[in-house]
């Protein structure tokens, strides 16, 4: 390029300053630790009361809705033989279901994972195997 050196240096300085500003002003918001249920339960002391994401499968037959309500769920998620009780206080995604895969954001408090954010696998695949659905004790609420 035929640009003067001073101009090139100037452009470089501006870009570096902008990048520096961005990195320094980053609060780390949005960056969370991520783990499976077994890892979380493998070191409860370490992870207790920390906001993090935990991944697992909703245990069959474990979803309890508060009587007469639609939300405010209690259920368990499992992974690799470990089971974590969850208290969930938000709209569950429409794809939330027993034996479904979920990733929960929240904190482990007194052995219960308090969460208000969940993502469940998007139903890119249509539902299979009716047998899974015929689960007792899962009311429709309301």
């Amino acid at each position: 390029m035929a640009l003067p050196v001073a101009t090139k240096v100037g452009i470089g300085v501006i870009l570096a300053a902008a990048l520096g500003y961005l990195v320094l002003s980053d609060t780390g918001e949005g960056v969370l630790e991520y783990m499976y249920v077994d890892q979380l339960l493998g070191d409860v002391q370490k992870y207790e009361n920390r906001t993090l994401k935990v991944h697992g499968l909703v245990a069959a037959g474990s979803i309890q809705r508060k009587k007469g309500t639609t939300g405010d769920l209690k259920f368990r998620v499992e992974y690799n033989g470990k089971t974590l009780p969850v208290h969930y206080t938000n709209i569950p995604p429409d794809t939330f279901q027993e034996e479904g895969e979920v990733v929960l954001t929240g904190r482990l408090v007194d052995g219960v994972f308090e969460s208000d954010e969940m993502s469940a696998k998007c139903p890119s695949k249509y539902e299979e195997e009716e047998g899974k659905a015929a689960l007792a004790g899962v009311g429709k609420g309301g």
Partner: protein, 702 residues
Amino acid sequence: MLISTLGTIAVLVLFLLSVATVALGVVGGARRSERLIEGSVQGIHGILGVAVFASMLLEYAFLSGDTTIQYVHHNSHPAMPVLYKITAFWGSLDGSLLFWVLLLSLFASLAIRANRQRHRVLIPHAVAILATILAFFCALLVFMKNPFEPWLLPDQMPLQPKGLNPLLQNPYMVCHPPSLYLGMVSLAVPYAFGMAALITGQVDEAWQRSVRRWTLFSWLFLAIGLVLGGLWAYEELGWGGYWAWDPVENAGLLPWLTCTAFLHSIMVQERRGMLKVWNLVLVIISFFLTIFGTFLTRSGVVQSVHAFGEDPALAWTFGGFMAVILIGSFGLLFWRRSLLRSRHELESVLSREFAFLLNNWMFLICALFVAGATMYPTITQWSGNLAERFGWYRETMFALGIYDEAAWANALLENKPMPWGRVTIGPAFFNHYMTPLGVALLLLTGVGPLVAWRKTSTQSLVDQFRAPLIAGVVAVLIAAFGIPLVRTQGGFEVLSGWGLTCFGLCGFTFWTIFQEFYRGVRVRQRNRPQSPLDALIGLVVRARRRYGGYIVHLGIVLMFFGWAGNAYKLERKLGIYPGEIVTLGDYEIEYMGARATQDWQKDMITVELTVRRDGGHSGDLRPAKWWYYQLPEQPTTEVSRLMRPGGDVYASIADVDMTTGWTRLNLYYNPLVNWVWAGFAILLAGGVVCLGSKREEAEGGG
């Protein structure tokens, strides 16, 4: 013959035909044998024929409900509406790969047909490359994911499937995946021609002329796919937003970003013969990103709400293919580097060339950032796995201070999980970095078209920038003091730095576009007396690429205007009893009561809300929960919103207690959100105007 058998044969023929076509193209190109080249062209058309046949077979299997085929059995239900039976074809992994092959063979066939006379030298090589890509996908179909796979034994067949999730029974969901596919797949064409240009050494502008409109086509369909996905999320999911930086959304955004960069930088090459290497790099990266995106979606490598499930074998196969693409393409580029010298050099920072260069850097930085942040969680996981397996890697990481040796030793001692942290990256992180990048791009959208090629004189700068700068300042003042977007209860206006910056730049950029149109119309009217409307139409038709581009920019400005509103977004989550009133900004929302009803398909609970502002009745909201009898354990969330130019009042329900009527609501106020959709419609219109331009029109506008 059974459909499954016939289909399997068709898939096999597809694969063999692709391989044969590669061979014909390579040998024909090397020997310059017209007969072989013609054979390879026929091969491409033949692949299309077989792909159409195979796709029709699969559609037939769906429509006739042939559940002896596993794929049909998994993805279909006799009671499904016909439309969803048709779209079930690409609803899942195996079929989506066949759909990919169908589209790619269609595009390959069209592109080869259109260019077979004009760019004859490039043809055998372009054919060979397109057929190689086809062969890769066909190989996946044959060896790993045959959609025609039957049940081997009748008793393997499980119970009847339950049918389509109601969540996907939505027109957006019918259009969103295919438009993304159209955009992604069609990017193979520019790539093939770019590589053919490198192989033949014919790296002048010919290859670009043959692919410019293809790239524009891809770009448009990627945009349509992205926005439809956003609309679907906004109207169906109930979390009050439309974009969450999910890996699969990002997978669609990445090639769109590099495609946008390419559409700009080819103008520099056309006009000034610069950036030749760069354009090829962009074409390679764009194509690579479409394969990378498919890999992200299909392999389960990245955790995503959309992922099809983990499949290590597929991940490795895709990984290998991506490595081949990168090494092969950049190898070719390096080999031909001496042919790619610029005709001119950059003369001034105040030039259109430099503005385009900045624009390209910005888009590439955006793409790199999004790709990096999307892969970061996966990289941390891989790194953890490596650290567990290999001592030397662990030692290196300890030495670099990335992992803590003491923590590792401790975990080992106490038999606890290994301390190789794995992280996720959420929307807040993306927004933190992408907001300034987006704002900078908006600034460039305004500045670029105002500076001249080669060099801009100070006088012309003053002339060009005076009015837009004033417009920008006025826009900031209006946003800050004139019209409060969001007021708190006490009547105070909420202000946001990024919001104001964005409004100012919207005003600035809007004025630069207006100024271009205004001046063009005036010139035409001076040359020949005519009405301003006639002059405007004449202007756009005469220079479609240039003014189409401005229309696209106008759409972008409106979308940014909508995004700026996001800075003022309000969100409230709370539980209330009937008769209680909550405030959201200066709206008052009264909870009237909940109703339980049902129809033949579902049970419904509907919450009735009355919205008031300044004492006047603004409207009613009726968010609901529905339980389809078909899928009682998955209630659907029904969003309700009041659409206004100023913003949406948006409500969804988390929880209703039918005995007391207590409900927990999620309320959002999304200022200016509808401008995003309106801006997108304008962007589409501009894109269509550009697409209509004559191929040879060398007039390089903004």
